[in-house]
């Protein structure tokens, strides 16, 4: 039997054991420790009585409060939807112009649209809808697929080149250089010509190239982009005469676009967002673009 000794500092006895010089005091466990241990155990027993807690074979103790997290969340979701329906029903029923003319409703659209846009669109189009390289700016009123409310709503629903929608908008710019449709000189020439459409001063000193480019353009590009290069919203062909560029407007970017082609993709949202949410997003975007 080990003999304890008194620790001069604390006045407590040691247990008499020693391990490589380490001793242990036999200090009693403080009463507060027992108290807190008992309190936490009582809390737990109380919680078990009130809430689902212990398994009983194929079932479990359901608790006095009859608390069920699945029922609770279902109730809360339906209550929230009901609260929201006060104004979403009006959105569903009203025309785009009517909604935009209603300041109270527009306040809701701006609040909810911000969240909808942020969670679904901003990853590509940016937090402020001002776009990124390859992803259009949605605030400049320059719409690839048409800027009417109906056209915007349709784009959101079916997307562009989206495998998820059979009605998706289809936009395929061919890889004229890579696929050998045009030789390299022709690609260089048509790039020069396209550049002059928005920046006439580019033609200076390149008369021959631009003239050749004009012919190439008429034969290969005008089908989609139009004789004047003003684009065609039916096939999402951009207007080449303005200063808005989806993939960059410097001569290298234009060359790359013609050489490798462009097949941008936008997801279809018809299966992911309900019609009211898509309508809110449409109005939100019209509002972002400012007054026509």
């Amino acid at each position: 039997m080990a003999i304890g000794e008194r620790d001069p500092h604390s006045g407590h006895m040691t247990t008499g054991h020693e391990w490589n010089g380490i001793k242990e005091l036999n200090t009693p466990v403080p009463k507060a420790v027992w108290l807190f241990l008992i309190v936490t155990v009582i809390f737990s027993i109380g919680y078990w009585l009130l809430m689902p807690a212990w398994p009983l074979g194929r079932t479990y103790t359901r608790g006095l409060l009859d608390n069920d997290q699945k029922e609770i969340v279902a109730k809360r979701v339906s209550a929230a939807a009901q609260g929201r329906s006060a104004w979403t029903q009006r959105i569903a029923a009203m025309s785009y112009d009517q909604i935009r003319a209603d300041p109270a409703l527009m306040a809701y659209v701006r609040e909810d649209g911000h969240r909808l846009f942020g969670d679904n669109c901003a990853a590509c189009h940016g937090m402020n809808a001002t776009g990124n390289a390859g992803f259009p700016n949605l605030t400049d009123r320059d719409w690839l697929w048409g800027g009417t409310p109906e056209a915007i709503a349709h784009t959101i629903a079916v997307g562009v080149n989206s495998p998820a929608s059979k009605d998706t908008r289809v936009s395929q710019m061919m890889a004229f250089g890579k696929d050998g449709i045009l030789d390299n000189d022709a690609v260089l020439a048509v790039a020069d010509y396209v550049k002059t459409l928005s920046e006439p001063s580019w033609a200076k000193g390149k008369a021959a190239s631009v003239a050749k480019g004009r012919e190439v353009f008429a034969a290969n590009c005008a089908v989609c982009h139009g004789d004047q290069g003003r684009g065609n919203p039916q096939v999402g062909a951009p207007d080449l005469t303005d200063r808005t560029w989806l993939y960059g407007g410097d001569i290298d970017a234009i060359y790359t676009t013609i050489y490798t082609g462009r097949q941008g993709e936008m997801p279809a949202w018809e299966h992911r967002l309900d019609p009211v949410d898509r309508k809110i997003l449409t109005v939100f975007l019209l509002d972002k673009g400012g007054k026509p």
Binding site: Q69, R84, Y108
Partner: protein
């Protein structure tokens, strides 16, 4: 180091290494045949075994150790383990801080798969938990076990097998992430062959520990050994159960877990939480229960509190894992049990922290003057803080706010940096002069600098994540008048940015501290042994239980 092994142990080592090299060759050939990433791991195993084999061969013809070795403790594996642990610390913390900067500035990486966030993150967690923490636990457990049992390790081969084998597992794990090999189970990412290897290593570790304890000259088993033993035993059980899987092919890295759906989630978090409990808590409590009283020169405050703390922690922790799955498909009654057992767990956890801090009564002047002891004191405080936080966050309604936010990240780092790393650094600073028979660390000033770097880094990190986590949680649940969420997820991302920068700065301070520590340890090892070398051995070697 090879000179410490007997000829038969050298032969045994070579046999094991040759078998391992052959296994590596077979893995490489099988993987190459199917163009499977296992090929690379085969070559890793092959090169690793050949490298160690060269080392053994190099010392093979040295004279055998004399019989007098049996009258002293066998510390070579502990020395190697501490050096390896510090190397892993720098690697793991470097990756961690890189990932922290990457979260603030997403372009701060290479345009390559290996450097994507999803691969760097497990390299960080494995590097610090298993590389740094695991090696420190193995090294200190050998040291503590021998002294508190007054018994030499039973042989010289097993500890090396455990240490080197464990590091092969760590290398397979981390290199696997960069190659894209993962089970996608958090903290259990390595694939089936690495898992099997760890089982072999770990069982050897358990047997080695039991053999030493069985031969102890002390009548009682010291509390540090209860904790080390709980760590070794339970980690073995956790590892085996959670990693039960069927390989898609024995010639490939991919396997499929035996569990699916919510059972998989429950098994994973039973494992995950008890890895926190028995790897990151029990093991390091073992460390604390030896080095803190030893350094303070004080008896343990209360033997009775040691007992209640130990059995409370081991019993309650086992139930708590389901608190990671609140408000999920997991049945609510399982969540209730997880929550209530987590609440009851608080008291035993605080008993352990209080027992450590009260042990310092009568030695607070040393805490003031000695940064090494202060590391351990601060670790006990962070242990108390993070166990309180853990129990608090396990309460369902608190978890509703904290879950999936940075609060969780802050919580684990209060534990990992504040508790695990600080107790490890403190223990290492205590044990290095003892092991290498030096008067003191090379530079006490650098120990002091490391303490403040580590503390500042931890505080900056944890406060940044608390702020960021609570803001995230609140932003995600804020509704506006229209009955919809006010903020998009991206809004909360933008709000996090300053905290992510602060977190990365905190991590950087912590990393610099670890590098300072490495330098200090290296210089201590290089410095010649002084006449007044320190030792923690209270008893004469003659009183030692020799090897088997």
């Amino acid at each position: 180091m090879v000179s410490g092994l007997t000829i038969s142990e050298r032969q045994r080592s070579m046999a094991v290494l040759i078998v391992l090299a052959v296994i590596g060759l077979v893995m490489a050939a099988a993987g190459a045949n199917r163009a499977d990433p296992m090929q690379a791991h085969g070559f890793l195993v092959l090169l690793f075994s050949l490298g160690v084999l060269c080392f053994v061969l190099n010392g093979y013809f040295e004279p055998e150790p004399s019989a007098t070795r049996l009258t002293s403790y066998y510390d070579d594996p502990s020395k190697a383990g501490i050096v390896i642990a510090m190397l892993w610390a720098v690697f793991g913390m470097f990756i961690g801080d890189w990932v922290a900067w990457l979260l603030a500035f997403p372009d701060m990486t290479f345009d390559a798969a290996w450097s994507s966030f999803g691969r760097l993150r497990p390299a960080h967690t494995t590097g610090v938990i298993f590389g740094f923490g695991g090696n420190a636990l193995i090294a200190t457990s050998f040291h503590v076990m021998q002294r508190t049992s007054r018994a030499r390790l039973p042989d010289q081969f097993s500890p090396w097998f455990v240490l080197i084998g464990y590091n092969l597992f760590c290398l397979l794990a981390v290199s696997g992430y960069f190659l894209g090999i993962t089970q996608s189970k958090e903290y259990a990412e390595p694939e089936w062959y690495a898992d099997i290897w760890l089982v072999i290593v770990w069982v050897t570790y358990l047997v080695l520990y039991l053999r030493t304890l069985a031969r102890r000259k002390e009548p009682h088993i010291y509390v540090a050994n209860w904790y080390y033993l709980a760590f070794i035993l339970v980690v073995a059980i956790l590892h085996v159960v959670n990693n039960l899987a069927v390989p898609a092919s024995f010639a490939g890295a991919k396997s499929y877990s035996l569990f699916s759906g919510v059972q998989d989630a429950m098994t994973q978090w039973w494992y995950g939480h008890n890895a926190v409990a028995f790897f990151l808590t029990a093991g390091f409590l073992g460390m604390m229960y030896y080095y803190l009283p030893k350094r303070a020169g004080r008896p343990i405050y209360s033997y009775r509190m040691s007992i209640i703390g130990f059995w409370g922690i081991t019993f309650f922790y086992m139930w708590a894992g389901s608190h990671h799955l609140h408000y999920t498909a997991l049945p609510q009654w399982v969540q209730t049990l997880g929550m209530t057992f987590s609440v009851m767990l608080l008291v035993p956890s605080w008993i352990a922290a209080a027992n450590a801090l009260l042990t310092l009564n009568g030695a607070w002047d040393k805490v003031r003057d000695d940064a090494t002891l202060r590391f351990m004191m601060m670790a006990a405080i962070f242990y108390g803080l993070s166990t309180f936080e853990g129990s608090f966050m396990a309460i369902r309604s608190v978890n509703a706010l904290s879950h999936y936010t940075d609060w969780t990240i802050g919580h684990v780092h209060a534990g990992a940096m504040g508790w695990v790393a600080l107790i490890t650094f403190g223990s290492i600073y205590a044990v290095v002069p003892w092991l290498w028979k030096r008067e003191r660390m090379y530079s006490p000033v650098l120990v002091e600098a490391h303490f403040w770097l580590a503390l500042a880094g931890t505080l900056i990190y944890v406060f940044a994540m608390w702020n960021s986590g609570i803001i995230q949680g609140l932003m995600w649940r804020t509704y506006n008048d229209s009955g919809t969420l006010t903020y998009s997820f991206l809004d909360s991302m933008v709000a996090m940015h300053p905290y992510y920068v602060a977190r990365a700065i905190g991590g950087l301070l912590f990393l610099i501290g670890a590098i300072v520590g490495c330098y200090n340890i290296w210089m201590t090892i290089r410095r010649p042994s002084g006449a007044s070398a320190l030792t923690d051995d209270a008893l004469l070697p003659a009183n030692l239980q020799p090897a088997e």
